[in-house]
């Protein structure tokens, strides 16, 4: 049952599910690396989804809709930046304001302007099957048969990594988020950088919101973000404010969610699958940890622990594949909890304060 097809399906779906979450996390990375906490990603996405729908319907062009959604996201983030920087609002409160207003405004506008007019969506962006690459066994269907925004997401992850760590722009953004005064003293305009970074993040959140409309669904529904913006926030922390870290975390998240659905379908023994997959995860994680331990010349104890985890995982995986388990259906609500529990576990496992930009949430004022 848990054959090649099973994994290909799960992984391909994990990438789709990870797309809006990763984009949302990139939003967080841009604003938080510059020192602005953004818990308004959810609201930003919602407004962007709404706008992209309206614009795509009016223009009868999904790409224009995407653009409209992105601009809306940028504008919402600008509001966040203005509240946080110009009006020195506590940034968590500012994020809550964004979320509240986004729900209120989109619900209100949907009811007053959309529901009465009965406009219909114009479909979704078609898949871009990448020639040649799509035919690679296993990898092809997982990676290269997606709709365009999935590829955009990959592109943005790479681009963000490049911008953040290999360009003056990123160097300055990070300096502003870590030690704004130091940046100021070398002539870097702290607050303009923060505005710019937050708005760029907003554009990306706009893409995340538009994804739901122009790629996933084809029309706007009230509250259709259903918490993806908050998950993105967790994923950003999970990934330690790094684009690739966020991507990996989002994939893990997407995989867990996809698995939750997949196990519900009833053709797979739930317990068996969980044992097998947990084993596989331990094997993978343990091995990677062991390799890094050797590369970084960590102490022996760490290597042994990693090795034991890997071996236990291997055993579990083999048992999971071979033993017969009594048929059990885990209540799907519990499968749904998985990603959230995982987030808490990872959060608590992280070293205190690791990687968070030092000046995050602190208003910069010239002395």
């Amino acid at each position: 049952m848990m054959d090649e097809k099973f994994f290909i399906g799960l992984l391909a779906l994990a990438f789709v599910k990870a797309t809006p979450i990763t984009l949302g996390a990139l939003t967080g990375i841009y604003s938080e690396r510059s020192g602005i906490i953004n818990i308004g990603i959810e609201g930003t996405m919602l407004v962007a989804a709404f706008t992209s729908f309206i614009v795509s319907v009016v223009s009868q062009n999904l790409w224009v809709g995407l653009l409209g959604g992105m601009l809306a996201g940028g504008l919402v983030s600008l509001l966040l930046a203005v509240l946080s920087i110009r009006y020195k609002v506590n940034q968590i409160i500012a994020g809550m304001v964004i979320n509240l207003l986004a729900i209120g405004v989109t619900n209100y506008a949907t009811r007053v302007y959309i529901d009465t007019s009965g406009i219909a969506g114009i479909g979704v962006l078609p898949k871009w099957r990448i020639p040649l690459l799509m035919d690679i066994p296993i990898l092809g269907p997982i990676l290269f048969q997606h709709q365009p925004l999935v590829y955009f997401m990959f592109g943005l992850v790479v681009l963000t990594h490049y911008v953040m760590f290999y360009t003056p722009w990123g160097l300055r953004t990070r300096a502003v988020g870590e030690h704004p005064r130091a940046a100021d003293t070398v002539g870097i305009p702290v607050n303009p950088m923060r505005y710019a970074s937050t708005v760029i993040g907003g554009l990306i959140a706009g893409m995340a919101g538009s994804f739901l409309v122009v790629e996933a669904v084809g029309s706007f529904q009230k509250m259709m973000t259903t918490g993806r913006g908050f998950i993105a926030l967790a994923v950003m922390i999970f990934g330690r404010w790094n684009p690739f870290g966020a991507l990996v975390a989002a994939l893990l998240f997407g995989f867990a969610e996809a698995l939750g659905v997949r196990l519900q379908l009833g053709d797979i023994n739930n317990i068996q699958a969980l044992v097998y997959l947990t084993g596989l995860g331990m094997l993978l994680g343990g091995t990677i940890q062991m390799i890094t331990d050797f590369v970084k010349k960590k102490e022996t104890r760490s290597k042994i622990i990693a090795g034991m985890v890997a071996i236990t995982g291997l055993i579990a995986a083999i048992l999971g594949q071979t033993l017969t388990f009594p048929p059990t259906v885990i209540p799907f609500q519990f499968l749904g909890i998985l990603p959230y529990v995982l987030t808490i576990l990872v959060l608590t496992g992280m070293v205190r304060g690791a990687a968070a930009p030092a000046a995050e949430g602190v208003v910069y004022e010239k002395q």
Binding site: G9, G123, A216, G227, A258, V261, L265, D267, L335
Partner: protein, 386 residues
């Protein structure tokens, strides 16, 4: 610190002032509360069931009949349940020649508000009150008992079941139910007959909502009835009911999962979530089956793919019952079973083979004749008759 003390003193002072002002007003009771007093007396209904002095207040005078609608938690324009009920009410009102002021709705935001929302209509002198949703079953029942002069219609509510030793049927209360399992069964049969891969899928809202469960039960039985070897993939949204019906992206992704598993017909039953599944499957070029209403009409994006919908005719049921409550038609206290059937095939009229159509018609007759059990006892959470 002192400031805080001061603020609390201020508040205390205000409270005392207000209280003493009110207390002082008692002897000369005619001044300020005077305007409120009459309504207060009149509206003092809840504890005294015999509130017969429910003499129509002035606003009500313009309308002979006033219809109030209390929605299920959610909005009036939910493209689904609330909206259909409201449409039924509007049609009835039109037929009765009522003015716009004579019928109104209250959107319920929290189950804790059901009772007070019904009360609001009672107080304003409404003569017919429609409530939506199974969660309000009890609230509607209590209100009906307390206000025998008002006709109550509850959708998705079984109002003839003996709960807590209460009389089975209340004369001024009708609950509307549907055999979702029956239309679900037909949808399943259609899917089972049309599939080429022998695998079909169904994407549902949450399993805490009995009608949704009945759709699923019927769908699976129907498919297996016509095609015993078929694989039916089913998934509920894992979220709570506030999320489970509004997550079209999840619906779409789940449909995709099922398609990856070989499903070639997708049934979507879960509000926007289900619609998301329909859209995704349609984009993948597969036939789909909608739910609740004729979704060929409500989800224009999938017109090319939608074979039919497992329909329950809520609009008509509500309209007819409201009309009956207004004296036009037969008022049937207890539970009224509305019609549940397959919607027209529309664009698929020609693509569906005649023998399939014949089988479906045959099955429909058998179901109506009670020869096929579409909701077997023991289907957990479906509320099937035991």
């Amino acid at each position: 610190m002192r400031k805080n003390l001061f603020v609390s003193l201020l508040v205390l002072l205000t409270i005392v002032l207000v209280l003493s002002a009110c207390g002082g007003a008692t002897p000369t009771a005619t001044e300020k509360p005077a305007t409120d007093a009459p309504t207060e007396v009149v509206t003092e209904a809840p504890t005294e069931p015999a509130a017969t002095e429910e003499a129509p207040t002035e606003e009500a005078a313009g309308c002979a009949i006033r219809i109030g609608y209390v929605t299920d938690v959610g909005r009036i324009d939910d493209d689904s349940f609330n909206e259909a009920s409201w449409t039924g009410i509007q049609q009835a009102a039109e037929q009765l020649g009522l003015g716009d002021d004579c019928y109104d709705y209250i959107e319920t935001q929290d189950t804790a508000d059901y009772v007070s929302n019904i009360e609001a209509f009672v107080k304003e002198g409404y003569t017919i009150i429609v409530t939506s949703g199974f969660l309000i079953t009890e609230g509607t029942r209590t209100a009906a008992e307390s206000n025998p002069d008002i006709k109550f219609v509850g959708t998705d509510q079984g109002q003839d079941v003996d709960y807590d030793g209460v009389d089975d049927v209340i004369p001024n209360l009708t609950g509307i139910l549907f055999h979702e399992d029956q239309s679900g069964f037909l949808a399943g049969a259609l899917a089972g007959l049309m599939t080429e891969s022998n695998t079909i899928g169904g994407v549902y809202g949450t399993n805490t909502v009995p009608p949704v469960v009945r759709f699923k039960v019927g769908y699976e039985l129907g498919a297996k009835h016509v095609n015993p070897d078929i694989t039916v993939l089913s998934a509920y949204h894992p979220g709570t009911s506030d999320v489970a019906f509004v997550d079209p992206a999840w619906g779409g992704e789940t449909a995709q999962t099922m398609i990856d598993q070989g499903a070639d017909v997708i049934f979507g039953a879960g509000g926007d979530t289900g619609n998301g599944a329909l859209t995704a499957a349609c984009n993948a070029g597969l036939p789909v089956i909608g739910v609740d209403v004729d979704q060929y009409l409500t989800v224009p994006e999938v017109q090319a793919c939608i074979m039919s919908s497992a329909q329950k005719d809520l609009v008509t049921a509500v309209r007819d019952n409201v009309l009956a409550a207004a004296g036009e038609g037969e008022w049937t206290p207890g539970t009224f079973y509305g019609k549940a059937f397959l919607a027209p095939f529309h664009d698929w009229e020609d693509k569906i083979p005649d023998d399939v159509k014949a089988t479906l018609e045959d099955l429909a007759e058998q179901i109506l004749a009670g020869e096929i059990v579409t909701c077997p006892p023991g289907s957990e959470g479906a509320g099937c008759p035991e």
